[in-house]
Each structure stands twice: as structure tokens, then as C-alpha cells.
């Protein structure tokens, strides 16, 4: 809003940009990592587990996006993604190693 530009501090704009990046990219990464985890842990045949994991990933993505815009600050948005992301990445790494052909 050009007319209100002066009223919107730069810090606010950066925070919004940061949240958008966290939601779009960070949210996708967490969704993808969780789908990998789900596909390996669901007690189903491989193709079924993979299809289920992809369908559930979009719900994870949705929750991640809502989180990024509902938490108190942009820093919290990132932290709330990085923490589960890190845990999932480690778990996925272990599972990948365990499931090596």
C-alpha cells in the first residue's frame, strides 16, 4: 500500500517475507520429509504406503502454512519448522540406511 507505506515499517515487511518463505519452502520441505517417514513406517505394502504418504503430505503442508502465519513471530515460524524438520530428517536418514536394498 503505497499510501500507507510510511506506516508499515521495514521490519514488518521483512517479517512477512520471511514468513512467506518459511511457509512455501520450509513447509514443503517438512511435508516432503514427513511423507518419506510415513511411507517407511506405515504397516502397508510399499505402493500403498507411498500413495498414503503423498496424500497425507498435503495435510502436513497445510498445517505448516497455517502455523507459519499464526505464530507470534517470523523467528518462531522458522523454529517451528526446523525442529520437526530436523527430527524427521534424522529419522528418514536412519530409515533409508536400514531399508537399503
Amino acid at each position: 500500500m503505497a499510501s500507507r507505506t510510511s506506516g508499515v515499517p521495514l521490519a514488518y515487511r521483512l517479517a512477512v517475507t520471511s514468513r512467506i518463505l518459511a511457509a512455501a519452502l520450509g513447509g514443503y520441505a517438512v511435508a516432503a520429509l514427513s511423507s518419506i517417514f510415513i511411507a517407511w513406517t506405515l504397516p502397508m505394502a510399499r505402493p500403498e504406503a507411498v500413495v498414503s504418504s503423498m496424500m497425507l503430505a498435503f495435510v502436513v503442508y497445510l498445517v505448516a502454512v497455517l502455523w507459519c502465519f499464526s505464530c507470534r513471530s517470523a523467528w518462531r515460524a522458522w523454529a517451528g519448522l526446523l525442529l520437526p524438520g530436523l527430527v524427521l530428517a534424522i529419522a528418514d536418514g536412519v530409515l533409508y540406511w536400514v531399508n537399503q536394498p
Partner: protein
């Protein structure tokens, strides 16, 4: 965003809705038309006669056509005529070519096997493709459409959280109250068909899930994506061509075998692989109007040389049925006429939901500047984009259809010109939007759109022998339906214009609306 959940969700709803609203409007409206893709295809090729359906005879004609046109093509696909569309499509891979764009598409007369003489037109296929490819190259359009679908998905959910008094608000409609009426209308539509909107936006993600969310395929299958497809679609696995040539059985004979092996199934599509080779196969895909779940490749596969059954539709595991169910619910191939119209109305509802949202965004902010009389640049930008994306599309769609009726029958590149006219009309609307402002611009644009739509049945009657009376008389409701729907669209737009012109009388309520909207604005602007 310290304001709490509802305010932050309102912020997300407002801005995601604005930025993606213009694109989503086009995706929803063309997708809505795609529910009648077959009917629009038939309308676009009125020369194709409606005949009694005979799958066996049609296949014999298709084979005759292939022998005459491309005897050494190894891959062909035949889509059989059905009760919605009398056309038979025969698509074959041009010998020596591979990949996308290597196929030749033809309409074939199911009685004689000759090439069907008709005007070249993309018909309903254009709206269907535009709906998810946006006239962009593969795979960019699909990615952009998927991103828009995801934005729609979370915008809906954030909208639900914003309107937590959802049922109370549903019964609150205050007509004739300017901004309030827009909001009530937006909420009523949003709530009434909310399950449909959620279903459509979520299922579109499921449709493209292996493209947009492939991580678990890559890891669980250790990078071998083809193994995943072989697991999910066992019948789609095609043996490679053998060294020895072998003659193919007549399709009629293979059809008899297929009918015997899958009694009671109708077939919509027949695909031949490695024709003329000893490993040649024929796949008969069951008519998917019989089940909700949609499976792109799950048919009965026969050896084209011996007629032996190579694979048959499997008992599908539950998670895969759920995925296919979302696919099917989105595409609605199973829907009969009543349900199809409900889908159409649901689609119009979604389009109107997006449209009212965009209009409200602007109205709210314009009120602040109403006294000053000068519009800030970004509001003017939104105004132009609102006009061009919404009213402009209502120019483009009837222009595409009118072009089908008006171009010379045998014109070179005819179907390309139809598409070009679609975008030229859209561009003209943008030019108009740049020159005109406010209500006047809307009235003018909607009148042009109404004129184009209203003209369609008349132009159709003058240029073809399938005018409204003839098609109603012969019971061809697909063609009559397109004409009548266009006319109904014109009437609806005419009614909207009348409402717009009358709106001046409702001006006093503006003050109240201003008072209500200011706190929202402030909370959006401040942190």
C-alpha cells in the same frame, strides 16, 4: 501478527486470496466448463452425426482407418463413442517419432472408417487443458496450477477459521447493504458448498501428487520411479517389442474376447502397443462411468496376436482406491446428467466465491479513498486486474466458441485461430480495463460479455444446420445445452448489470459499511 488466530488467519485469507485470486478464477471457470468437455466437443464438431452406439463395429472401422492411414504405426489409442459424445477419436504414434507431440489425432467415422469430415476445433478439450496447463509448456503450467490449488486449499481453511461463527453467518444475509451484502454472499456460498470446494482443491493435489510430492517415491523405491508405477498400475507394464513380426488379430475378435472375460463392462478406450509385432498387446479400458474411483491404466490386457489374457483389472488396495477416488471425484466421469449439473453449479459457486472475494478486497479499500477522488496506484492495479481477469475471461470464452462457428470450415490452422481469438479477446478486455474506471468499466465489460454469450445461439443457428430448434427437435441435448447455457449466462450477466446500475439507490448504507471496515483495515496494516 500479535492479534490472535482469527486475525492472522484473516490476513492470510485476504492476501493469499488476492494474489492467487485472478489465476484461480480462470482455473475454476474453465474447469467448470470442462465438466461438459464431451458435450462442448460435440457442439464444436456439429458435423459428426449422432448414431446408435456399437463398440464392435466402431473398432472394426478404427482398424480399417489405421490400415489405410498408418499401417506401420506401432501405438494407437481409440476412444470409443459414448452417449455423451458421438465422436470416435483415433490417436496414433507417427512411425519413427517418439515422445510428446509424436501422436497424430484424428476423428474417424465409426461406421465407415473414413476420416470424419468436420471443422478443425479443439472444442471442450481446450478448456480442459487450459484448466490445469494454463497454455504453458509442460510441466510449468501443471506446477503453477498445483501451486494455485494448494493456495486455494489453505485459503479455504484459513477462511473457515476466520469465520468461526460459520453456521450463524450462513443464515445472515443482508441484501442491499453494499459491502455487507458482498461479504454475506461470499460467506453463504463459501459455507454452502464448502465440502465441494475442499474436495476439489485437495483432490487436485492428489491428482498430481507423484509430480509435486515425489519424495517418498524416490526414497521408498530407491530412485526407481518406474517400479512404483509398475506396482500401482500392474496392467500398464508393457513388454518390449520382440524381434519377430506377427500379424494382429482383428480388433472385433479381440473385443469379443474382452467382453467374454469382463462380462457386463463397457469399454471406453482401446490401446494397441507394438502393432505388427509378436509381442503386440491390446488394452481394453473399462468405461469409467461405472465407478467413482478413476484409474488411468487398469484395463484388460490381451495379446493382440493370440488373444490370450495377459493381465486383468486387479483388486485395488484401499489406499490406492482412496487416491483414485479423489481423482474420480474431481473428474466426475461417473456423474450422470443431474450430478453433472450439480458439479457445474458447484464450480460456478467456487468461481463466484473467488470473484466476490476479489471485489470485496477492492471495495473495502476504495471506500477510504472515495472522498479524495484519487485512487492510489495499487488499488487501480487491482481494479484493472479484477476487470481483466474476471470480465475478460467472460469475453474470451464466448469468443473462442463464436470463432468455432465463424471461421471458414477448411481454413488452415483453424483450431489455432480459435485459441488465438480466446487470448485476443482477453487482451482487448485488458486494454479496455486500462482505459475505463469503476462501475462504468464493469457495466461496459459485462455488457460486451453478455452480448457475446447471447449471440452464440443465433450465430450457431445461422452458420450451421444445428441451431437450437434443430438440436432440440432431434433430441441432441449436448448441442442444445451449450447454446442454452450460453444464453442463460448472458441473462445472468444482464441481471448483474441491472443490479450494478441500480446500486446508486443503496448509497446511504455506505457510511455504515465504512465504519465496519475500518478496524479490519487497521488490523491488517498494523502488526
Amino acid at each position: 501478527m500479535k492479534e490472535g488466530l482469527r486475525q492472522s488467519m484473516a490476513w492470510l485469507h485476504t492476501w493469499a486470496g488476492l494474489v492467487f485470486g485472478w489465476l484461480l478464477f480462470a482455473i475454476w471457470l474453465t474447469g467448470t466448463l470442462a465438466y461438459f468437455q464431451d458435450e462442448i466437443n460435440h457442439w464444436a464438431h456439429p458435423e459428426v452425426p449422432v448414431r446408435a452406439l456399437d463398440a464392435r463395429a466402431s473398432l472394426a472401422s478404427a482398424q480399417t482407418f489405421m490400415q489405410a492411414q498408418a499401417a506401420d504405426s506401432q501405438r494407437w489409442f481409440i476412444s470409443l463413442p459414448d452417449h455423451r459424445n458421438p465422436e470416435m477419436g483415433v490417436m496414433y504414434q507417427v512411425p519413427g517419432k517418439t515422445g510428446r507431440g509424436s501422436f497424430s489425432r484424428n476423428l474417424v467415422d465409426p461406421q465407415s472408417g473414413a476420416k470424419q469430415e468436420t471443422r478443425e476445433s479443439r472444442g471442450g478439450e481446450f478448456f480442459y487443458r487450459f484448466h490445469f496447463e494454463l497454455q504453458m509448456g509442460y510441466p510449468w503450467g501443471r506446477w503453477l496450477a498445483s501451486a494455485a490449488a494448494f493456495v486455494m486449499f489453505f485459503t479455504l481453511v484459513s477462511g473457515i477459521i476466520t469465520h468461526k461463527k460459520i453456521f450463524k453467518e450462513f443464515f445472515t444475509f443482508r441484501p442491499g447493504k453494499a459491502q455487507r451484502s458482498w461479504l454475506d454472499g461470499h460467506n453463504a456460498i463459501g459455507v454452502l458448498i464448502l465440502p465441494f470446494h475442499l474436495l476439489i482443491s485437495y483432490s487436485s493435489l492428489v491428482i498430481f501428487m507423484s509430480m509435486i510430492m515425489p519424495a517418498s517415491i524416490l526414497t521408498s523405491y530407491h530412485g526407481k520411479v518406474t517400479d512404483f508405477y509398475a506396482d500401482v498400475f500392474p496392467s500398464a507394464a508393457v513388454a518390449s517389442a520382440a524381434a519377430t513380426p506377427a500379424p494382429m488379430l482383428p480388433l472385433t475378435q479381440l473385443y469379443d474376447t474382452a467382453v467374454q472375460k469382463l462380462p457386463g463392462a463397457g469399454f471406453s478406450r482401446v490401446g494397441v502397443e507394438h502393432a505388427g509385432n509378436s509381442n503386440a498387446t491390446v488394452e481394453f479400458t473399462p468405461d469409467d462411468s461405472g465407478s467413482i474411483a478413476y484409474r488411468a491404466a487398469d484395463g484388460l490386457v490381451l495379446s493382440a496376436v493370440t488373444g490370450e489374457v495377459l493381465s486383468r483389472p486387479q483388486d485395488t488396495p484401499v489406499p490406492i482406491i482412496i487416491g483414485a477416488g479423489f481423482y474420480g471425484l474431481h473428474m466426475a466421469h461417473f456423474a450422470g446428467p443431474v450430478l453433472r449439473w450439480l458439479y457445474f453449479l458447484g464450480g460456478i459457486g467456487g468461481t463466484v466465491l473467488i470473484g466476490t472475494g476479489l471485489v470485496m478486497w477492492l471495495n473495502k479499500r476504495q471506500l477510504k479513498h472515495a472522498k479524495a477522488g484519487v485512487m492510489p496506484f495499487e488499488l487501480r492495479l487491482v481494479e484493472v486486474l479484477n476487470l481483466a481477469s474476471m470480465a475478460g475471461l467472460l469475453w474470451a470464452i464466448p469468443s473462442f466458441l463464436l470463432t468455432n462457428r465463424l471461421l471458414p470450415m477448411a481454413m488452415e490452422g483453424r483450431s489455432d485461430w480459435e485459441v488465438r481469438m480466446f487470448f485476443i479477446a482477453w487482451g482487448l478486455s485488458l486494454l479496455h480495463a486500462l482505459c475505463r474506471r469503476g462501475k462504468r468499466a464493469w457495466v461496459e465489460q459485462l455488457l460486451v460479455a453478455a452480448g457475446l454469450m447471447g449471440a452464440l445461439p443465433f450465430v450457431s443457428a445461422l452458420t450451421t444446420d444445428h441451431g437450437l430448434w434443430q438440436s432440440i427437435g432431434s433430441g441432441d441435448w449436448a448441442i442444445a445445452g451449450v447454446d442454452l447455457t450460453a444464453f442463460a449466462g448472458a441473462l445472468f450477466l444482464g441481471w448483474t448489470v441491472r443490479k450494478l446500475l441500480k446500486k446508486k439507490a443503496a448509497a446511504p448504507s455506505r457510511k455504515a459499511a465504512t465504519r465496519e471496515s475500518v478496524p479490519v483495515l487497521e488490523s491488517e496494516a498494523s502488526r
